[in-house]
């Protein structure tokens, strides 16, 4: 190849199959293709096929056939409304709990931990080194009826003598909170950590008390992190079924447990597909509402600054 082959290509040199200009125009497209393929194969096709399956009728033994049974949607909503609402409630409560625990933790790590910062980060992600199931089973032992924690709480009278922790909604919500806490802490930490602390000094210089400075400066600038943390916690939490299964009873079952049993146990595929689809729509609606509420424009502006 002679030097400057690229530069001479636009003159229509016979070897090059594309002119430089056209090659430049196609380059971004070429970069996008792998990602696009990924999305089509693992995202678009499953969604369409899910929709397709959800509208079928039949039974596991004789097989399912397409019958455009739209009634499956209102039917599954009314049949499993309890689990749907419970999922929203548990995931919402756990997300709030994660925020209440996670924000001070992230704040501490970002501003006060000094050289211990990396150690704390490691501690936050450490539970991820074991599997979700193992972690949740560990909670089972912590909350079980004859555990010392339950005993201690009974002694101080925080739970009645015949009360229990395991198999309650408290246990399930606590498990979800524990399991998804890092998803809240990490984005919060990232947004706080890169905040310029001089801004808080500037606010107090301009007659803001420390609390006002927190409210007017730190909190809004942590906005993108709060938004990301809430979504990253809420979305996996709403679809979770491990915590309800291991720490609760059927009284605490969430929509994830229903979908799981419809798919794997009852093999009622259309209902399972419809419920998955409903859940996806609900999550998307919540994201849209949240983005609207906080204002994506302000978020992106705060993010670039």
């Amino acid at each position: 190849m002679s030097s400057g082959g690229e530069a001479t290509a636009p003159r229509g040199k016979p070897g090059g199959w594309l002119t430089l200009r056209r090659r430049n125009a196609l380059l971004p497209l070429a970069l996008v293709v792998p990602g696009l393929l990924w999305l089509v194969i693992f995202y678009a096709i499953p969604i369409v096929s899910q929709l397709w399956i959800s509208l079928q009728t039949g039974n596991p033994d004789d097989g399912f056939a397409q019958s455009w049974n739209w009634a499956v949607y209102p039917d599954s909503i009314s049949e499993y409304s309890e689990q749907l609402l419970r999922s929203l409630q548990y995931a919402g409560t756990a997300t709030v709990a994660c925020f209440i625990i996670g924000f001070p933790l992230a704040y501490f790590m970002a501003f006060k931990a000094g050289r211990w910062r990396n150690l704390f980060l490691l501690l936050v992600v450490l539970p991820f080194f074991t599997s979700l199931i193992v972690r949740t089973v560990a909670w089972q032992t912590i909350l079980t009826d004859d555990s010392w924690i339950v005993g201690a709480l009974k002694t101080v009278g925080l739970i009645p003598p015949d009360g229990r922790l395991l198999a309650t909604s408290f246990a399930v919500i606590a498990g979800i909170t524990y399991n998804f806490l890092p998803f809240m802490v990490l984005p919060l930490y990232a947004s706080l950590e890169r905040m310029d602390r001089t801004l808080v000094e500037a606010a107090t210089d301009l007659y803001a008390s420390r609390w006002t400075a927190f409210r007017k400066i730190t909190l809004p600038l942590a906005g993108p992190g709060i938004f990301a943390g809430v979504l990253l916690t809420f979305i996996p939490a709403i679809g979770d079924y491990i915590n309800a299964q291991l720490l609760g009873t059927s009284q605490q079952y969430m929509i994830g447990n229903v979908i799981q049993s419809q798919y794997l146990v009852v093999r009622e595929y259309p209902t399972a597909a419809a419920l998955s689809f409903i859940m996806m729509v609900v999550v998307l609606a919540i994201i849209a509402a949240a983005a609207r509420l906080i204002g994506t424009k302000r978020l992106s502006e705060a993010a670039v600054a």
Binding site: T198, E201, A203, Y207, A302, V304
Partner: protein
């Protein structure tokens, strides 16, 4: 101008073993433009941060308008700061940034709006009120920071190298604007800088800081014409310094022995302050003249040292000579190129360096400071 606005008494700040600010006493006059000048790391920012309330002094007190404020938190102090990084709130518009302090002070909405508009007009940013800081140039952000502080009409305004991040041309322009604004508003400005030219251009009074202490306090002219330490003599411009010993002092001038035997005259009042006869005397390079000669004409009223030109550099406005004296000192001498008298001089020539005894200053003899 004689009223004191900010008074520092024995102010000290230690970080661990490091003494950042060392027992400073300072009276900053009301309504003036005061500069704290010194090399990087000498403790200027720390001093300013203690006045602003962001750093707690290890010892000493701070008074503002006669009242002690040492223990007050920043938001209770009637001072505002222009931060070196500007510290503009990125999620607020320019107008919201400027209104922030007034909102905290519960100034009512109509007055707030008017004062914000006035402050933005003062820094000529009125049309950009609805922009965000990220959409503005460095110079504009600097002005927003200034307006955001000034709008509160504080008792004193603290500026930490406010022009440090700007390029030279913009810096020169803003230096002039800043002094103009200070004269207009009449608020005490306490301006921190490591740039001696900036301090001399803007400030009424300059405190030269070194190693956490105030070396000398005075007007730009006083500091330049009568530096009292070798550090000040060299930090503000160039100086020729030679060791000298006082021989006699009678009348207007004292006579000193310098540079291995030369007899020089020094203003008597300058010598009077010295602790011992062993002193150092100095003269600015531009105060000296050069003439060809070998010492036949060494008399008269001027001070003179004999030597040989070892270097001559033409730098346009002036020619910069280095003259190696008989006593072994190297003198820097600037000769303006307006006169043609010295144009014949060149390297190797024997010369007489002359200056008016009035232009001789005396600094304390001390170990030359490292760095």
């Amino acid at each position: 101008m004689s009223e004191t606005d900010v008074a520092l008494r024995g102010l000290t700040k230690r970080f661990g073993d490091m003494v950042a600010v060392d027992n400073i006493d300072l009276d900053i006059p009301r309504g003036g433009f005061f500069a704290l000048l010194g090399p990087s790391g000498c403790g200027k920012t720390t001093t300013l941060r203690m006045i602003g309330g962001f750093e707690e002094p290890t010892a000493g007190t701070i008074e503002l308008a006669g009242k002690e404020i040492t223990q007050q938190p920043p938001h209770k102090r009637d001072v505002n700061t222009v931060f070196q990084s500007y510290a503009l709130f990125p999620h607020m518009t320019v107008a919201e940034n400027v209104a922030f302090g007034l909102e905290r002070k519960r100034v009512d909405k109509a007055e707030r709006k008017q004062r914000v508009a006035e402050a933005l007009d003062l820094v000529e940013l009125g049309p950009l009120a609805s922009r965000r800081p990220a959409q503005m140039s460095g110079g504009q952000q600097q002005r927003v920071a200034l307006a955001r502080a000034l709008v509160n009409r504080p008792r004193a305004l603290l500026l930490d190298e406010p022009l440090g991040a700007l390029d030279l041309r913009l810096r020169k322009q803003l230096q002039l604007e800043l002094s103009q604004i200070q004269r207009d508003v009449g608020i005490t400005f306490i301006h921190v800088t490591h740039d001696q030219e900036e301090a001399m251009t803007m400030a009424d009074t300059i405190a030269v800081m070194r190693d956490g202490r105030i070396d000398q306090l005075g007007t730009a002219t006083e500091l330049y014409e009568h530096p009292r330490t070798a550090f000040v003599a060299n930090f503000l411009g160039n100086s020729n310094l030679v060791d000298a010993e006082v021989i006699s002092s009678s009348g207007r001038y004292a006579e000193v022995d310098a540079d291995g035997g030369a007899r020089l005259k020094v203003p008597a009042n300058a010598v009077a302050a010295a602790q011992s006869p062993q002193i150092r005397i100095g003269v600015r390079p531009e105060k000296m003249t050069l003439e060809a000669g070998n010492g036949q004409q060494l008399d008269g009223d001027s001070n003179a040292l004999l030597g040989r030109i070892v270097d001559a550099a033409y730098i346009g406005l002036a020619t910069q000579y280095v003259v190696h004296t008989e006593g072994g000192a190297d003198l820097q001498i600037f000769v303006q190129n307006s006169s043609s008298r010295t144009s014949g001089l060149d390297e190797g020539d024997r010369v007489v360096a002359r200056w008016d005894p009035e232009h001789t200053f005396v600094v304390e003899r001390e170990e030359q400071h490292a760095g």
